[in-house]
C-alpha cells in the first residue's frame, strides 16, 4: 500500500540533515557493485526503480512534481551525491513521504543517527518493498547515470525506460518522429 503522501519540510533543512547526520551503514559496507548486463551496467537499477515503485511519486523520468500526492523532489535536478542518494533510499527522508527501503532501518540500524523512537513523528513511512543493499546501490547508480542532471524527458529516454509496446512514450515524440500518428488516431479504431 502506498503511503507517499506527505509534503516535505523545507528542502534545505532536509538536505542539511541528510548531509550532516551520521549514516550508520556506510556505502562501502554494501559490498560489490550490483551485477548487471554488460550492455548497460545500470540496467539492474532501472528494474529496481520500477519494482520499488519509485515511479509512483518520482515518475518514470524522475522529475517528481506536485499534484494530489505532494512534492516528490526532482531527481533530475537533485544535487545529492551517490552516497547521499544511497542513504536517502535506505533511510527515507524523515518528516516527508519518502519511505525507507532498507530492512531494519531505524530498528536494527540507526538512520540519520536515529532509531524509531528518536524519529518519533518524523519517522518516514516504510517502503512497499524492502531492497537489499546491492539493490539500493544499483538504483542509486541508475539515478546518477540516467536521471540526475537530465533536462526535459525525451522520447529516447522514455523508450529506454519502458522498452514496451505501451503508448506511454508517444507524447515525447518530436514532430519529425510521428509521421503516422495523426492518421492512426483519426480512424478511431484498431487498438
Amino acid at each position: 500500500m502506498m503511503v507517499f503522501n506527505r509534503f516535505p519540510a523545507a528542502a534545505g533543512v532536509l538536505l542539511a540533515i541528510v548531509v550532516a547526520l551520521n549514516f550508520s551503514m556506510s556505502a562501502a559496507a554494501y559490498g560489490q557493485p550490483a551485477q548487471a548486463p554488460a550492455s548497460d551496467p545500470t540496467n539492474a537499477g532501472k528494474a529496481v526503480f520500477s519494482r520499488a515503485n519509485c515511479v509512483g511519486c518520482h515518475k518514470w523520468h524522475g522529475n517528481g512534481g506536485g499534484g494530489y500526492g505532494g512534492d516528490a523532489l526532482s531527481l533530475r535536478k537533485t544535487e545529492l551525491t551517490r552516497d547521499q542518494i544511497i542513504e536517502t533510499v535506505g533511510c527515507g527522508r524523515p518528516g516527508t513521504g519518502m519511505p525507507f527501503f532498507l530492512r531494519g532501518a531505524y530498528d536494527e540500524v540507526k538512520c540519520h543517527d536515529m532509531n524509531r523512537q528518536d524519529a518519533g513523528a518524523q519517522m518516514p513511512p516504510e517502503g512497499g518493498t524492502f531492497l537489499r543493499p546491492k539493490d539500493i546501490e544499483a538504483v542509486s547508480d541508475y539515478v546518477i547515470a540516467h536521471i540526475k542532471g537530465g533536462g526535459e524527458p525525451t522520447f529516447a529516454e522514455c523508450v529506454a525506460f519502458f522498452s514496451s509496446t505501451s503508448r506511454v512514450c508517444d507524447v515525447y515524440k518530436t514532430q519529425a518522429q510521428k509521421p503516422d500518428d495523426a492518421a492512426a488516431a483519426s480512424t478511431g479504431k484498431g487498438q
Partner: protein, 595 residues
C-alpha cells in the same frame, strides 16, 4: 452457499461457451431473444422489471432505489453471504501500485455484468444460488500509458447494456461494445486521449441509441467534454466542451491572458442523468485547473463546478448552475444530479439534487437551472459563511471580483500559500453515489466529514506540460477524516438524520423501501433503517468497501451485491487521514448476499 458441484459448474460453463461460440461462428448472428435485447423502451421503464438493474444509477433519475422488499427491516438481520467471486484487475500500472473496484454491477435476467479497475468486463451467471463466470472480456488496457495520468486510481465504475451489447469504457480512453452472449468485442472506438491527460473512469449513460461518455483529467490540464457516440454507426454524434471556446457564451468568464481556458479542466467523470420529458441530459462538471491557484485563471471559470443541462439530441447547452465560481479549493461538481419531483407551493416541483464537494447539497429547478434550496450536509464548513438564500451562491461571492477569496483567511491563494480547508479537497461528497427513496422523499448522501491542508504553488504557462500534473499545489492530511450517511428531507430541504461512521463513505448508497445499504473502507457492509438510520445488520468483508451496493432477483429470490477492493485516490493520496486503513489490503472480490 455453493450447492452445485465443481464439475457441474464446469460443465455448465463449457456448454454455455461452446453454444455461444458455435452460434457465433456458424451464423455471425446470435441466439438472443427479444426479451434480452435492451431497448430505449426498457431503459425508460425499469420500474416494470424490478428484479433487474439496467442503469448504472438504477434509473435515468439516479435514484438507486429498488422496490424489492424480500429483504426488509424485519429480516435483514438474517442476511448472509450467498456466494462470492474473486475478480482480477488488481495489477498496478503508471503511478499506481494496484487497482481497485468502484463499479456498480448491472443485472439482467439473472446475469451480472461487472468491471474491474482496468476495464475487464465479467459476465456472471447468478442462477441457482451461486455465481459462475460466463465470460471475461479483457480490453488489454495500456496500463503505463493510462495509469500515469489517472489522477485518482485505476478505476472503472461499470458497464451499460444496449441491444445485445455490453457497453464499457477503458482507462486508456476507449468505448467498447462487447457481444453479450459471446464476450467477443463487437467494435471499439477511441473517445479520449491519454496523450492529452484524458482518461475514462465512469460508466457510460445510454440514451436513444447513443453512449454518453465523460472524461477525467482536470489535474492534468485537459479541456473537459461530454461526448455522444451512435451505437449503430459507431460515429460521434456530438461532443460538448465544458469550457467554452473563444467567443462562445461563457468564454468571458476566463479573463486571463494565459489562455487558461484551453487547459481549464472541467472534467466529467461521473455518469450523469437523463430527463426524457424534456430530452435533457444533466451532468456534473469538475473543477477548474490549476486546482489551487485561482489567480492563474481569473473569472468565474464556466462551466467548471457546475451542473450542466444538455439537449440530448444535439448536445447543446440548455442551462447551467455553478456552485463555486473561480474555485480555489478543488471543490468539483462532478457528482450525479438526482432527478426528483416533489410537491411545491404552486404544483409539483421538478428538481435536480446535487451533493457537492464543497459541502453543500443543492436543489435546482431542472426546467430552468434556478436555485431552489441549499444547505450544508457536512458537520464543518470553513470556507464560506453560507449560501445566499436567493441565488445559492456563497455569500462572499462578488461578481465584480475576478479572483474570489471567499473567507480569505482560510482560502488558498497566492497570499495564503498554506491553509486548512473544511471540507477537505475530497469533499464533502465525492463520486460515491447518493440514493433517493421516493416514498419517504429522503435523499441519502455518502459523506466524507473532512478537513485537509492545501499548499499553493504559483503556476506559470511554462509549467503546463502534457501528461504532467497541473494542480497549482497539493493537499496533505494532518487531520483525521471520518464519515457519515446524511439524509435530507427533499420536501423541506432540511437534514433528517445523520449516522456517523469512523471512516469516510467511499462507496455510496442503495435504497430500498425501508432500508439503505452502504459500506466502509474498513470492510463493513451495513444495512440501516431507512428512517432512523439505525444500523440493523453488518458484515465485515475483510477488504475495503469502495463501491456502491445494488440489488436484483434471480430465480425469484432477492440478492444484494457489492464489489469490494480498496483502490482509487484514497489509499495513495489521502491515507494519512485514516491511518487505520493502511492495514487494508488491495483486493478484488464480488460479494453477494441473500436471506
Amino acid at each position: 452457499m455453493e450447492r452445485s458441484s465443481g464439475n457441474t459448474r464446469m460443465l455448465m460453463r463449457s456448454c454455455l461457451l461452446a453454444a455461444a461460440a458455435a452460434a457465433a461462428s456458424a451464423m455471425g448472428a446470435l441466439p438472443v431473444s427479444a426479451a434480452d435485447e435492451v431497448s430505449q423502451e426498457r431503459l425508460l421503464n425499469v420500474d416494470k422489471e424490478p428484479g433487474n438493474w439496467l442503469h448504472h444509477h438504477q434509473n435515468y433519475s439516479a435514484h438507486r432505489f429498488s422496490t424489492l422488499k424480500e429483504v426488509n427491516r424485519d429480516n435483514v438481520k438474517n442476511l448472509k453471504v450467498a456466494w462470492t467471486m474473486h475478480l482480477g484487475g488488481i495489477e498496478g500500472g503508471g503511478i499506481w501500485s494496484h487497482g481497485g473496484l468502484e463499479g456498480t454491477p448491472i443485472a439482467e435476467n439473472g446475469f451480472l455484468y461487472v468491471t474491474d479497475g482496468w476495464g475487464s468486463v465479467y459476465k456472471i451467471d447468478a442462477h441457482g444460488g451461486r455465481g459462475a463466470l460466463v465470460w471475461k472480456m479483457d480490453p488489454k488496457t495500456d496500463r503505463d500509458w493510462a495509469g500515469a495520468v489517472a489522477c485518482c486510481g485505476v478505476d472503472n465504475r461499470g458497464v451499460a447494456l444496449w441491444g445485445n451489447l455490453v457497453i464499457s469504457h477503458t482507462l486508456d480512453g476507449r468505448l467498447i461494445a462487447t457481444n453479450k452472449e459471446t464476450g467477443q468485442v463487437a467494435w471499439q472506438r477511441t473517445v479520449a486521449d491519454p496523450d492529452k491527460g484524458e482518461v475514462i473512469t465512469g460508466a457510460p449513460l445510454i440514451v436513444k441509441n447513443m453512449a454518453i461518455t465523460g472524461v477525467a483529467g482536470a489535474e492534468y490540464g485537459i479541456r473537459g467534454w461530454i461526448a455522444a457516440t451512435d451505437l449503430s454507426t459507431q460515429k460521434e454524434v456530438w461532443r460538448t466542451h465544458t469550457i467554452p471556446g473563444k467567443g462562445e457564451p461563457g468564454s468571458e468568464t476566463w479573463k486571463d491572458s494565459n489562455n487558461a481556458a484551453a487547459a481549464g479542466g472541467g472534467s466529467t467523470w461521473v455518469t450523469g442523468t437523463y430527463d426524457p420529458a424534456t430530452d435533457t441530459i444533466i451532468w456534473g462538471i469538475g473543477n477548474p485547473g490549476p486546482d489551487w491557484d485561482n489567480e492563474y485563471r481569473p473569472g468565474d471559470n464556466l462551466y467548471t463546478d457546475s451542473s450542466l443541462a444538455l439537449d440530448a439530441t444535439t448536445g447543446k447547452i440548455k442551462w447551467h448552475y455553478q456552485h463555486t465560481p473561480n474555485d480555489p479549493y478543488d471543490y468539483d461538481s462532478v457528482a450525479e444530479n438526482v432527478l426528483v419531483d416533489v410537491p411545491g407551493p404552486s404544483g409539483p416541483r421538478k428538481l435536480a439534487l446535487e451533493a457537492d464537494r464543497n459541502g453543500f447539497a443543492y436543489a435546482i429547478d431542472r426546467t430552468n437551472g434556478k436555485f431552489v434550496w441549499g444547505l450544508p450536509f457536512v458537520k464543518k464548513v470553513t470556507w464560506t459563511k453560507g449560501l445566499d438564500a436567493e441565488s445559492g451562491k456563497p455569500i462572499e461571492y462578488d461578481p465584480n471580483k475576478s479572483v474570489q477569496t471567499y473567507i480569505a483567511s482560510v482560502t488558498p491563494s497566492r497570499t495564503n500559500m498554506e491553509t486548512d480547508i473544511c471540507p477537505g479537497n475530497m469533499g464533502g461528497k465525492n463520486w460515491p453515489p447518493t440514493a433517493y427513496n421516493p416514498d419517504l422523499k429522503l435523499w441519502y448522501i455518502p459523506v466524507i466529514e473532512s478537513c485537509n491542508r492545501i499548499k499553493v504553488e504559483v503556476m506559470t504557462p511554462d509549467k503546463l506540460k502534457p501528461r504532467e500534473f497541473w494542480t497549482g499545489g497539493g493537499p496533505s492530511q494532518p487531520f483525521k477524516i471520518t464519515g457519515s450517511v446524511t439524509a435530507i428531507d427533499v420536501t423541506t430541504g432540511k437534514i433528517a438524520g445523520k449516522m456517523e461512521t469512523p471512516f469516510p463513505n467511499l462507496g455510496g448508497i442503495l435504497a430500498t423501501p425501508d432500508l439503505i445499504f452502504t459500506g466502509q473502507p474498513s470492510g463493513e457492509v451495513h444495512a440501516l433503517d431507512a428512517k432512523s438510520l439505525q444500523k440493523l445488520w453488518e458484515f465485515n468483508t475483510g477488504g475495503g468497501v469502495n463501491a456502491p451496493p445494488m440489488t436484483f432477483t434471480v430465480d425469484g429470490k432477492q440478492y444484494i451485491a457489492i464489489l469490494v477492493g480498496l483502490g482509487g485516490a484514497w489509499d495513495k493520496w489521502f491515507i494519512d487521514s485514516t491511518p487505520e486503513l493502511k492495514k487494508i489490503q488491495p483486493g478484488s472480490m464480488l460479494y453477494v448476499f441473500a436471506l
